[in-house]
């Protein structure tokens, strides 16, 4: 029986594919590699790698401790490289308008009730629940893919991250 090897990638190693044009503009495919994006990002920068109207998938280079954030809607964090601890907190008072879009950074430590924590490694998906606060910690450079709505600190730099020719 064939012994299969599943190929994942990470900051330490990735092999990029690409768009081979026949009769098209490669920019139409908005092609990037999330580990290449993370390798060039600042810690906790939220770089959009996919966008569909207001929705985005963001790549976050997790390194050290993030600020606390609050999200008006559910977000989902997939650790795609390394290990990330996610602390969750139920704020004493609502900190965000539920109709807003995208999580926002908070200054300082919010007051509230500890909800628990998740220690997630490569391939793990965690819920960041609506109306709650979260903070991420990573001892070593790690990468998170965030399913969310474009927010005030979503970074879009398509020209820098995507295949153009």
């Amino acid at each position: 029986m064939t012994k299969y090897k599943t190929i994942f990638a990470g900051l330490d190693g990735y092999e990029k594919g690409g768009v081979e044009v026949i009769n098209d503009d490669p920019k139409n495919y908005v092609f990037s590699n999330i580990f290449e994006v993370a390798s060039k990002a600042k810690p906790w920068e939220k770089v959009a790698v996919a966008k569909n109207q207001e929705y985005v998938l963001e790549v976050i280079r997790a390194e050290g401790t993030s600020s606390w954030r609050v999200t008006p809607h559910d977000e989902f964090a997939m650790v795609v490289d390394g290990e990330v601890v996610i602390d969750l907190l139920d704020p004493e008072h609502p900190l965000v308008d539920p109709s807003a879009s995208g999580s926002i950074a908070l200054s300082g430590e919010p007051k509230g009730t500890v909800m628990g924590k998740v220690i997630a490694r490569r391939g793990h998906l965690a819920l960041l629940p609506a109306g709650r606060c979260y903070r991420m910690r990573a001892e070593k450079p790690s990468v998170v893919l965030l399913q969310t709505v474009s927010g005030p600190d979503t970074v879009e730099r398509w020209s820098e991250i995507c295949q153009k020719y």
């Binding site: 299969y4 599943t6 190929i7 994942f8 990638a9 990470g10 990735y14 990029k16 594919g17 768009v19 081979e20 026949i22 009769n23 098209d24 920019k27 139409n28 495919y29 908005v30 092609f31 990037s32 590699n33 999330i34 580990f35 290449e36 790698v49 996919a50 966008k51 569909n52 109207q53 929705y55 998938l57 809607h73 559910d74 977000e75 989902f76 996610i86 969750l88 139920d90 009730t113 909800m115 628990g116 924590k117 998740v118 220690i119 997630a120 490569r122 391939g123 793990h124 998906l125 965690a126 819920l127 629940p129 893919l145 399913q147 969310t148 709505v149 879009e156 398509w158 020209s159 995507c162």
Partner: protein, 326 residues
């Protein structure tokens, strides 16, 4: 053209298979082939790819946009009603005026397709399975595989694994790890929950969950952020349909490699080849059709926007063709 009454199966032919009629279309199969007839033409195709394509069309409720079974036959979803067409997206059929299209209420065409699958899929054949994991689609009629052809597509309301949502997979629930993913780490995340927050503090091994998928080319909803749906799927061999986009769709290759052949949605003329390796992320524009080739079973994240506003925007021609310009 408007709909005509359907006929769900006549008397079986000499091979044991029933013919089906939907409006002006007639479907028949023999040991090897499916024969489709319409008022201006006819088409013959191998039974296996036809049944695999029809299976996806039914399971996905006709999906987003066009589901081309091949270069001739397919469906176009108008969300509530569906066009069944022959040659509609084939330039030469259109030039020769051999193309034909009829519109049917969603439930009517779905009922017909489901009846065809119930009758034409034999007991050893699973249209969702990889080629090396199923029996043959060919030969005389031999029983049926209702368990396979009536599978329910996983569609989480919030996130898989939450209380009252879609369950996780395990050996005990009938989802062993696939032969191609035996090396995938199955350790679960550490989740420490303070009492009272069980519905909110939750995480699971997403790659482990995918390694236990028993189907190929069948995106299922795993997490929901308003109308944003993460729809991962495991892929092996060839996508059984050629998907014509009516909206932008995104792919993120989580493991291994898929090669996408991209053609113009209307004419079928080649436009690009998109090679995606682990970590690669790419959009499929809203004016193309695409078909994927996965040499080894791979993990693909399909990311969709299920906004109820989109069908109206598409119908009015207001939906963007590309997601961003730069």
């Amino acid at each position: 053209m408007t709909t005509s009454p359907i006929q769900l199966g006549d008397v079986p032919n000499e091979h044991g298979y029933r013919p089906f009629t939907l409006g002006g279309f007639r479907f028949e199969r023999d040991e090897h082939f499916v024969h489709v007839q319409w008022p201006t033409g006819r088409h013959v195709t191998a039974a296996e790819p036809f049944l695999k394509a029809m299976m996806r069309d039914v399971a996905w409720n006709f999906f987003y946009g066009t589901v081309n079974f091949d270069s001739v036959i397919g469906t176009l979803n108008h969300y509530g009603n569906v066009d069944l067409f022959a040659g509609r997206f084939n330039e030469e059929y259109r030039k020769a005026e051999l193309d034909h299209s009829e519109n049917f209420p969603h439930d009517e065409i779905k009922e017909t397709f489901q009846a065809i699958l119930n009758d034409w899929v034999n007991e050893d054949f699973d249209p969702f399975a990889a080629p090396m994991e199923t029996g043959s689609a060919y030969g005389e009629k031999s029983g049926n595989n209702s368990r396979a052809v009536t599978r329910t597509r996983v569609a989480a309301k919030r996130m898989v694994g939450l209380p009252d949502d879609e369950p996780l997979r395990s050996d005990e629930s009938g989802y062993p790890v696939n032969r191609a993913f035996l090396d995938v780490d199955l350790d679960e995340p550490v989740v420490e929950v303070v009492k009272g927050y069980e519905n909110e503090v939750s995480a699971f091994n997403f790659f482990g969950y995918l390694s236990r998928s028993d189907v190929t080319w069948n995106p299922s909803v795993v997490s929901v952020c308003r109308d944003s749906l993460m729809c991962p799927t495991t892929e092996e061999f060839i996508l059984p349909i050629i998907h014509g986009n009516d909206r932008v769709e995104w792919f993120l290759q989580l493991s291994d490699e898929i090669i996408w052949e991209v053609e113009d949605r209307e004419s079928g003329k080649p436009r690009a080849k998109v090679v995606m390796k682990a970590g690669d992320c790419a959009a499929m524009p809203a004016d193309i059709r695409h078909q994927g080739y996965s040499p080894k079973r791979s993990m693909l994240l399909v990311w969709e926007n299920n906004s109820p506003d989109l069908p109206g925007m598409i119908a009015r021609g207001e939906a963007p063709t590309v997601p961003v310009t730069f």
